[in-house]
Point group: C2
Chain length 80, copies 2
Amino acid sequence: PDWAPMARDGVLQLERVYKFKNFKQAWAFANKVAELAEAEFHHPGILMEWGKVTVTWWTHAIGGLHRNDFIMAAKTDQLL
Amino acid sequence: PDWAPMARDGVLQLERVYKFKNFKQAWAFANKVAELAEAEFHHPGILMEWGKVTVTWWTHAIGGLHRNDFIMAAKTDQLL
């Protein structure tokens, strides 16, 4: 359960699944990630489901991964 | 831009993409959907991205679509 590079529709992305005990905890974490995204003005995909949140970082402008995405991934881990 | 049935990993789901002008509006809508999910204790997938939210309803217990998912889809539309 760590960050993994994924190619989706030809775009390289960095993705991690975070597990939680219920929806409420997943929701709270998703909101923290959304706050970080707005603060840095770099926006990932945030998928919340019952008991898990999937976060996907990539850089729209280059259609792939930039050094900043790896920094954002590390910052996301710090929100746990 | 309406609800469409999708088969994902063999599970039939009902999915709709809602477009917004920015991340903040998408985030606010995602939170409304999360509130509805907790209130009804039926939990969809909620994917928030810059300018859009993808909501996916299905019933875990039956691995597919139940009448209730269509009702939840209609309730989701009312949150707009």
